[in-house]
Symmetry: C2
Subunit: 138 residues, 2 copies
DNA sequence: ATAATGGATGCGAATGATTCGCAAATCAAC
DNA sequence: GTTGATTTGCGAATCATTCGCATCCATTAT
């Protein structure tokens, strides 16, 4: 099971998307800006491979389909249920939590990656609407 | 936008699944053990409704499709990449983290719900395989 | 009561994401 | 350079999820 060039290109696309979280189609678009093109089915297979390898992790945002991000151990995602926006904040504080969780789990589970997701209402949406979640893209 | 009886039944099904995390089809199966049956499309619509209402949250486990759980603010999910098993641990410790995140976000984001997901290898899988993630259901 | 209004539901068809099956291409090792 | 295994391209198949529309229900106004 090698890290072939298609797979590398997929990984690069995801890593190169700093901040944004691509879905499969966007990954394909990014990869296929260079020749030779990679077939969509292969993109999916590469994604599976990269996830299994722990290089990439899947995340579920507001939408119905899966997005991908480079595994970097520590993303905290703020997902606004109003507008669907996603902001990611750097994972410095959670280290302490991770440590204590790790202590609690001792031996029973070996953590490879983690992520945290907060859903709620961003400032703009809480201004424009009284009831959070009552409006937006979806 | 009422909490109709179909929607209630969907909510009960999800709440009744203590521990397990149902996907849409499983919710439908649970709901339709009682008459009258609820059409799958309505199940989906109810799920949307409940998510928007903040009563239910979507989670992404190992698989490719979405699962649902009662929003209870504090689930930490341990997902094993080997066997696909999911264990949930109670959310006592994260309170502190939430507080400090809340402080850091002051005003910019109003948190309604949160969840955290650790992926890695459970004990059994790390025993049976040297390389984590190299084997399993998927 | 009755009619009028605005969701909510059932139903089947449509959509769209993801996967499969298979043949050709690539790569590694002998 | 032949063998064997893995990967890729390709289109068809599958599966989850959503849509359109007619009907139904509950609530409010007449």
């Amino acid at each position: 099971m090698r890290l072939t060039s298609s797979r590398q290109r997929v990984l690069e696309a995801i890593r190169g998307a700093r901040g944004r979280h691509l879905d499969a189609r966007e990954v394909a678009a990014a990869v296929n800006r260079r020749r030779p093109e990679v077939h969509l089915a292969t993109i999916y297979r590469s994604l599976q491979y990269l996830v299994r390898r722990g290089l990439v992790s899947r995340i579920l945002l507001n939408e119905d389909h899966v997005h991908y991000e480079a595994a970097h151990n520590g993303g905290v995602h703020l997902v606004c249920t109003g507008c669907g926006g996603v902001r990611e904040i750097a994972g410095s504080q959670p280290q302490r939590l991770l440590q204590s969780l790790g202590r609690a789990l001792r031996g029973r589970f070996e953590v490879a990656d983690w992520q945290m997701q907060l859903s709620g209402t961003c400032r703009r949406c809480s201004r424009t609407a009284a009831r959070p979640g009552a409006r937006g893209k979806r």
